[in-house]
């Protein structure tokens, strides 16, 4: 029962990350394609999203057949997703700070926060809240 939720979650997150990643790369490579409001054209960021998506998806077959250890893909996916959510947040924050200090803050809009690397991580926060403890019980503090 619980596993089917994890399976469903991995599949959805994987598909979302991979999809957004392909879009970001596509927008970057094909100049004619206009980037969406919520998905920028960014080849490197797109690559990151694709890799996170693939990690989630790589766990799906194992979760379906109940292979022990398949859950690791879900957790590494969650970790990467949260880590890059934080990276995106800090990078956007730095941009805001620079505009606030040296530029015109009216040119900066909250829409800059609308990047998949940030908002997709919100989904992972829910996943982490649900299953994070279960996994990290086995990891000591340095």
């Amino acid at each position: 029962m619980k596993n089917s939720i994890k399976l469903f979650f991995s599949g959805i997150m994987g598909a979302l990350y991979l999809g957004c990643g392909f879009l970001e790369i596509g927008f970057w490579i094909v100049p004619g394609l206009a980037a969406m409001e919520v998905v920028p054209a960014d080849i490197l960021g797109g690559f990151v999203l694709c890799v996170i998506g693939l990690v989630f998806l790589a766990g799906v077959p194992g979760l379906r057949s109940g292979t022990p250890g398949a859950i690791a893909y879900l957790f590494v996916g969650l970790l990467l997703s949260l880590a890059f959510g934080l990276v995106a947040f800090l990078a956007i924050g730095a941009g805001w700070l620079e505009t606030a200090l040296f530029g015109d803050l009216s040119e900066w809009s909250a829409a800059e926060m609308a990047v998949p690397m940030l908002y997709l991580a919100l989904g992972s926060m829910a996943g982490y809240a649900a299953w994070g403890r279960e996994f990290f019980r086995g990891v000591a503090r340095a």
């Binding site: 693939l54 690791a72 957790f75 990467l80 730095a94 620079e98 200090l101 000591a140 340095a142």
Partner: protein, 667 residues
């Protein structure tokens, strides 16, 4: 009356030693270097009841052979530094391997206390360890600690103070069995011919080291009067065989003790195993590594940018204030020289601190070992270990933190090569020069030219690595024999400490050199009195004009030559300097016009100039960290000369080759 004692913290790497060290000493610690080497030395102090305890953190080692610099430092300190007590920090979750070091430490005959660290982890997975029995069988006090939570520190210090009162222990050394013991006895007998030696080193320890073929011990014997007797014993036996017998025997003793003192629950699949299955997996391993590198790069350079802008703004503001000072020469000394010089030290701080923090997190979490594991095959093919990859990537942002990141490479020559090739990796400061020149002289495809320059930098770095391996630093990368420590959650406190220790070392060790370098360049640019700063009439301008004939074969005019000298401060300054020299100031459009109008400058000369800027001597800050990290002016000078020679050669080939291809004089 209070008592003063010194204790040394020994232990395997990755057992939470630095966390325990911080838990014991708190903020009262300082970082320096061990004498003569660039290995970090940490010490601190704590007062326990009425005892002042000086704590020295030894490098993490698996044994006390002479295999690595770290091991020699650790054992030399225990022998020569005469600590009152040695505390071995033991990872409770990996007793068997950890106790191997215990068997070697006990041979040294110093009072020993074991801190059974990360005991909570062992308990959590179901291990039961009987401290009293363990203490009894090993004849060593054992104290349970959890460094990350500060548990057991008081008890540990109690035991330490108690032990420090005892006379030097009997050597509770293990017996090596019927085959080995007679030889050890003979060796001890022979060693006693040299009382000076045996009073300094425990004879049994020295005998065991000699049987193990320890190079450092052999060096000590070479100058001893017991030499001949020792040699005659050693020549009669196959030392390699004895060595294996002794190692085997140590593990046998451990294997005999362990089941009596603890029941462990190993064998079940651990979280670390599961994570490794993903992050080192066949298809995802390398992509995950690259993605994490992108993240680290993004944080280091994007997040640092507003802070760097703030430092620049403050610097400009102060320079503006200084401009009002009379007389004028004092204004430029303070404004351009002093404030500019301090600014060029501080400007790197945001980069350095963020990168060092991230490296500490990667290292403490255990991922850095996996990164080396994943990239090793690729790097090995160019004669470098896997750990060299991260500094090369960071170099694309800035060579200064990149060279500081080589600290994670253990082997000295591996590390030296990684440092020496790093300046060829094109850092962010060179990009403005490329953008200006490629945009002006290759308007059709500036992107391709810039990309080509980056590739050229990588190719030169790889070729240099191969060249160094074939000539001055021969050999192969050090054996990979590397522990893959279990993953841990890094604690903010420890990571911040790491960052602060290494970052503040940059200011202390490299800051002075950068400041002096900047002041020298300022003095050359501002004198003789009354000249326009950085103009042709200044000393810097005169030097540039004097050496210009050297650069004539490359097609560089004197303006370009002088700007290259200023590029030593920071490579992006080349542009500002050209602006001054062409008499157009900071007006970018005017500089572009002046450059295009200059008959000496054609596309081939522009290309040669860009290649020269890519490869020639590193900036002052890079030079200063090379000096700090190699600990040697000789290698610093080598780096400067080598880089400049390569740059000259490459620019020469482009200039003359271009002339040959397109005929006549250089366009």
């Amino acid at each position: 009356m209070s008592k003063k004692i010194t204790i040394a913290l020994a232990g395997n790497p990755n057992v939470g030693k630095s966390t325990l060290f911080t838990a014991i000493t708190g903020k009262r610690q300082h970082t320096g270097n061990w004498p003569g080497v660039t290995v970090e030395k940490k010490s601190g102090s704590v007062r326990h009841h009425d005892t002042d305890i000086e704590v020295v953190d030894l490098p993490g080692t698996y044994s006390l052979t002479a295999y690595s610099q770290d091991e020699v430092i650790a054992r030399d300190f225990i022998i020569d530094g005469k600590p009152d007590v040695v505390v071995q920090v033991v990872d409770a979750t990996s007793l068997e391997r950890n106790l191997y070091l215990t068997t070697q430490l006990s041979e040294l005959g110093v009072p020993l206390v074991i801190a059974l660290n990360m005991a909570d982890m062992a308990e959590q997975r179901g291990d039961v360890i009987d401290l009293q029995k363990m203490s009894k069988y090993l004849e060593i006090p054992v104290v349970r600690t959890v460094g990350s939570k500060g548990e057991g520190i008081g008890g540990l210090l109690d035991a330490v103070v108690r032990e420090s009162g005892t006379s030097p222990h009997h050597e509770h050394s293990i017996g090596y069995g019927d085959r080995v013991e007679p030889v050890i006895a003979d060796l001890i007998e022979a060693l006693r011919q040299d009382p000076a030696l045996t009073s300094r080193y425990p004879p049994r320890w020295l005998a065991v080291r000699l049987l193990e073929g320890d190079e450092d011990a052999e060096k000590k014997i070479k100058v001893s009067r017991a030499r001949d007797a020792i040699y005659s014993i050693l020549s009669g036996i196959d030392a390699g065989e004895y060595e294996a017998l002794m190692a085997d025997r140590r593990y046998e003793v451990i294997a005999a003790v362990l089941p009596q003192v603890c029941t462990t629950c190993v064998g079940e699949m651990t979280a670390s195993d599961l994570i490794d299955r993903v992050v080192t997996s066949r298809y995802l391993g390398i992509p995950i590594f690259l993605v994490l590198m992108w993240g680290a790069f993004e944080l280091t350079f994007t997040v640092a940018s507003p802070f760097m802008a703030m430092i620049e703004a403050v610097q400009e503001y102060l320079a503006g204030v200084a401009a009002g000072i009379q007389p004028g020469w004092l204004a430029t000394l303070i404004g351009d020289g002093l404030i500019g010089g301090v600014g060029s030290v501080l400007i790197f701080l945001p980069n350095i601190f963020i990168l060092l923090f991230l490296l500490a997190i990667l290292e403490d979490s255990g991922y850095l070992a996996r990164a080396a594991f994943v990239m090793d095959r690729l790097m090995y093919s160019i004669g470098l270990p896997g750990r060299s990859f991260i500094p090369m990537i960071v170099g694309f942002g800035c060579n200064v933190p990149a060279i500081m990141a080589t600290r994670t490479i253990e082997d000295t020559s591996d590390r030296l090569i990684t440092i020496l090739i790093n300046p060829f990796i094109s850092c962010g400061a060179r990009l403005p020069v490329f953008v200006l020149f490629a945009g002006l002289f290759f308007p059709e495809n500036p992107g391709t030219v810039i990309f080509g320059l980056y590739v050229l930098g990588i190719v030169v770095a790889i070729a240099s690595a191969k060249l160094f391996r074939a000539t001055i630093l021969p050999g192969k990368p050090a054996p990979f024999l590397m522990e893959m420590p279990p993953y841990r959650l890094p604690t903010a406190m420890t990571s911040v400490r790491h960052m602060w220790d290494r970052g503040s070392m940059y200011i202390r060790k490299a800051g002075g050199i950068i400041l002096i370098g900047a002041l020298v360049i300022w003095a050359l640019a501002a004198s003789p009195a009354g000249v326009e700063y950085g103009s042709a009439a200044s000393y810097a301008g005169m030097i540039g004009q004097a050496v210009q004939p050297l650069f004539a074969p490359l097609g560089f005019n004197w303006e370009m030559t002088v700007s290259l000298i200023f590029g030593f401060v920071a490579k992006e300054i080349v542009i500002a300097s050209l602006g001054t020299l062409y008499g157009v100031g900071e007006d970018a459009g005017a500089l572009e016009g002046a450059l295009l109008a200059d008959p000496a400058l054609g596309s081939i000369t522009a290309l040669a100039f860009m290649v020269f800027v890519l490869l020639y001597l590193p900036c002052i800050a890079t030079m200063a960290v090379i000096r700090k990290e190699t600990g040697s002016w000789k290698w610093t000078a080598f780096s400067i000369v080598f880089g400049t020679a390569v740059a000259y050669l490459a620019a020469f080939i482009i200039a003359r080759g271009g002339a040959l291809l397109f005929g006549g004089v250089i366009p």
